[in-house]
Symmetry: C2
Subunit: 245 residues, 2 copies
């Protein structure tokens, strides 16, 4: 585990309080540390455990029917709204959907649209292989899976905000990302849905006013099951120091 | 504190292990809980502490010169790269800048550009008040403050990725948001800089190839000091249930 490698090296130790030791231990876990001196950052006591949650977040495409208490939804959105936001405008609207008949209407319309698109593509192919058919069915099954959760959040932004469209979209995206991480901390899965559930479907079924632009929508639920973690690029591939060579 | 209100209500308690209790206690802190049954979400032990970190993240515009160990930068970027990403493409490049002369060149060029813009605006005003001049000086001082940190990360995305420009921008924004939260967990401040440091400046000074698009850049450092928390909208204003009324 990456955190095992962490060593905190602080310059000359100064007046040390018990709090300094606790604080340092909080970052480094069981790793030996020297105490923080004045001016060094005050890491959160659970920083190492916290950072592990980032690595555990993943896209979940099928859910159990177990309920998600409203208090959890609110805790998740309370985290989402702490995202960076241009000029502190917070142009967000989180539309929470729980009603079974509404979810069912979104599912039905989405499956119809996805099926139409996929079948339309196949109709223009000269040869349709078994693999093509398997892929078709898989796409439909995946779409069905999106609608197995007990609760959905549509992340919207207010087009009347002052910062302009680019900032507005960034604000919305940042809040959606925070939402997903907070949900993971509480043990729930999410998935960042854009084209997977056409905007038109959510706008019509949920009667979303034109003033609001959808950034994405996501189920929140207990995964059925947690999927295997996807292979990721190594950190080395993504970092450059001083310049890109 | 919001978390104090948390009560976890699970249906019929089933076979309970010590782990279930620890897990439940982890979410609820000191709040009384009933143990989790099979199928309920497995919250991270540090969930409550983690969710508090979201509320502590804020934009920081002046930094102490205290160094940020490279291990911390790597932990922060290791969290950033776990952001949701279209088709698992991970089109990110995190350009880390520490060299003092490079930072100084960015500072100088940015201050010159900002000064030129602000003074240009003032030159077209009929009356320039003391308040206008104060605002001018404040804008320049804020820009100077951006360059007081020991390390910078420019968050870039690869334009050659397959998912298209909209997804690419979302991927970049999501990673930048995760970066800032992870930095906060370790006790560091950040600020999501876009127009505050013109893209042209970072591109020229850092010699960024045209293949990469900048999403934002951020200092990472110990705040000097942590600014007061900005007033935020109430959660109620941001949530809608079932439909927007």
């Amino acid at each position: 585990m990456y955190f095992d490698k962490l060593k905190l090296h602080y310059p000359t130790p100064m007046k040390t309080t018990r709090r300094d030791w606790v604080r340092a231990a909080g970052v480094a876990g069981a790793v030996s540390v020297v105490p923080a001196k004045a001016g060094t950052p005050k890491a959160e006591p659970s920083a190492a455990a916290l950072l592990e949650v980032f690595a555990k977040r993943q896209s979940v495409r099928k859910y159990k029917s177990d309920p998600v208490p409203d208090e959890h939804v609110r805790m998740i959105l309370d985290a989402a709204r702490r995202a960076p936001t241009c000029m502190n405008e917070q142009p967000w609207k989180f539309l929470v959907v729980r009603k079974k008949e509404t979810i069912e209407r979104m599912r039905k319309q989405t499956v119809e649209m996805i099926t139409k698109v996929v079948d339309g593509r196949l109709a223009h192919q000269l040869n349709v292989s078994q693999k093509d058919l398997d892929n078709r069915n898989e796409a439909i099954a995946r779409t069905e899976g999106y609608f197995t959760a007990p609760v959905y959040v549509v992340v919207l932004v207010d087009k009347e905000c002052q910062c302009g469209v680019e900032y507005m979209k960034q604000d919305g995206t940042l809040a959606a990302g925070y939402l997903m991480l907070a949900a993971r901390a509480l043990g729930y899965g999410t998935v960042y849905l854009t084209d997977g559930v056409p905007e038109q479907v959510s706008r019509e079924v949920l009667n979303i006013p034109p003033r609001y632009q959808r950034i994405c929508m996501t189920p929140i639920g207990v995964p059925d099951p947690w999927p295997p973690m996807k292979a990721k690029k190594k950190l080395e591939e993504l970092i450059a120091y001083e310049q890109i060579t």
